[in-house]
Symmetry: C2
Subunit: 369 residues, 2 copies
Amino acid sequence: MRKVALTGSGLTKFTKEDISIDSLMLLAVKSLFESMPNLSQKDIDVVLTSTNDNTKYLSSIVSEISGIAPKISHSVESLCNSGANSAISAFSYIASGLADIALVVGAERFDSPGLVLEWDKSRGQYKHPIYWSSMFTKSHIRKYGTSKEDLAIVSAKNHKNALDNPYAYFEKTYSVDEIMNSKNLTDDVRLLDCSLPCSGSAAILLASEEAVKKLTDTPVWITGIGQKTLSAGFTKNAELASMESTIDAASMAYKMAKKEPSHIDVAEVHDAFSICEIIEVEDLGFIKKGKGNEFVRTLYETQDRRINPRGGLIGAGHPLGATGIAQIVEIGQQLQGKAGKRQMSQAEVGLVQNMSAAATSSSVLILQS
Amino acid sequence: MRKVALTGSGLTKFTKEDISIDSLMLLAVKSLFESMPNLSQKDIDVVLTSTNDNTKYLSSIVSEISGIAPKISHSVESLCNSGANSAISAFSYIASGLADIALVVGAERFDSPGLVLEWDKSRGQYKHPIYWSSMFTKSHIRKYGTSKEDLAIVSAKNHKNALDNPYAYFEKTYSVDEIMNSKNLTDDVRLLDCSLPCSGSAAILLASEEAVKKLTDTPVWITGIGQKTLSAGFTKNAELASMESTIDAASMAYKMAKKEPSHIDVAEVHDAFSICEIIEVEDLGFIKKGKGNEFVRTLYETQDRRINPRGGLIGAGHPLGATGIAQIVEIGQQLQGKAGKRQMSQAEVGLVQNMSAAATSSSVLILQS
């Protein structure tokens, strides 16, 4: 398998703007090119687009408006996990030798058709994601004594981290009390425990070991990849206080990278709702099962940014097809030492966890400077 | 790069049936499993779905209803060329070492949202594909003297070939006169010169060299891959009597496979319209530029099935996301000696050419027994 590195990235501000999907993608691609003076459109072998938008032929459209005529070009969709899937697909084109340089751009509009999984009839009228997150929350409360305050702490921490992310949707902090007193959407989920669908785009450039040399002095190598799909329907989840697909994906990624959870200096995890981050830090092995609540509390109290330094989905916003790519952008910047005010000291190994639809599928990537 | 083989396939009948996209895909997957007694659901690392349908999370849905819990799973879209793109993506997952066995299933409904490229404002009111095919036709007529009869011969030949394809939409032949006298859609395109959007599905199973052993005694190796995207908009085509993206993709595929056009024993080419096959046999190098008209006439007169033995898109029907996969199924069966009445003698090297949107992008695969 050929080595593959992340060499550069681009982002748009996450907003509620009514802007076309191709325009969103073009803005992220433009931002990527502006930050990579040695990159020419002619260098690019692959353009993959990641979105739930219904626009057809989007990768060719984005290629054309970006002045790129790639070899390989198509769209990738897997709901909220489209971003990591498209990055891993690009990885495989390069690792196999079919390509040398791949541009991956994810974007979503605030009114994405991927917000609710219409197919899952097993959810009855409870199709909106707040219902599965409510069941995950109730389950973790019962089994591990997680409190409403623990949940609010995730949101308070991530909103605080997002303040130093110039691309984040939210530009203000919330106190734990404000979050606990925000509107109850279900028994256990409050409005400020939820990530917000929004408009935004993120782009990354992956390259082979040989191609890296021209592009950057600070490549970030993708050394571990794990993915697992259990089902599409929510009711196939055996256990609601953990995420089996994340456990499986993490296990594969750690094995491939020859790393342990204790080696991870910084991670972006898929906090679609507060409960997700608490479960994920457990299932990624950062802390013992059932202690995720204490773990996030300590992070908050010590102002430790190691989990979701850009503010996660809760603080930065959740443009579905862009989210996995934006997570990779953040870990890349952290490992390159280019994360500005958000910079973790001595970050050498990072992790991205991106998932879809009540964690029926998950992807985990491990990156190293 | 690890070797990758086609090991098995499944098809549905192509129809105008009003059937859901997941049900269509399940039928093709079921047919594939029935033909592969040594294959278990647990063996499958990758499930990719190829379609223009707007259903989200389709690869996870198809995985669940097929009893598969893969590692990697997502949808691939690139209009009419989605099928070849998804097959090549699966190839790269295996070639890179990320996976060993990949199921790729393409499907479309007769009322696909991919039938017209809404984005291409450069076409004005002439968005329907009959208009670009009409311009290609006019251009080839002017430049190379191609006649209405030459065009009708492509359709007559492919409808005749489709008679021996039990999965084809069309079940009758048409005389050259009937085709020439069918309804004029534009000055140069008649109804029977067009492929018909329909409902249908096709599935293939790709495997690594090691995994092949368990699955089949007659693997078909994918030895050449070429792809090129020029643009999305039709007006970027420099020349209307040829397909630049196909020329580029073919050149890459021949080089990778170390083959010449003269080595190709049997080919599936993307005859969305009669003119396409005439241009493609030229641009794939089977005959000198401008002589495609004479080439197809000779095939017809000598009952030579080497181009589009299953009847092509014109004879078999064109379920967009399934087409590229169905083309690969046919070449696989030809090289395995399992093509029944359609079997070419001594077919050892085959080619698939799949393209999108006025050949603004093309994919070419070379397969060998």
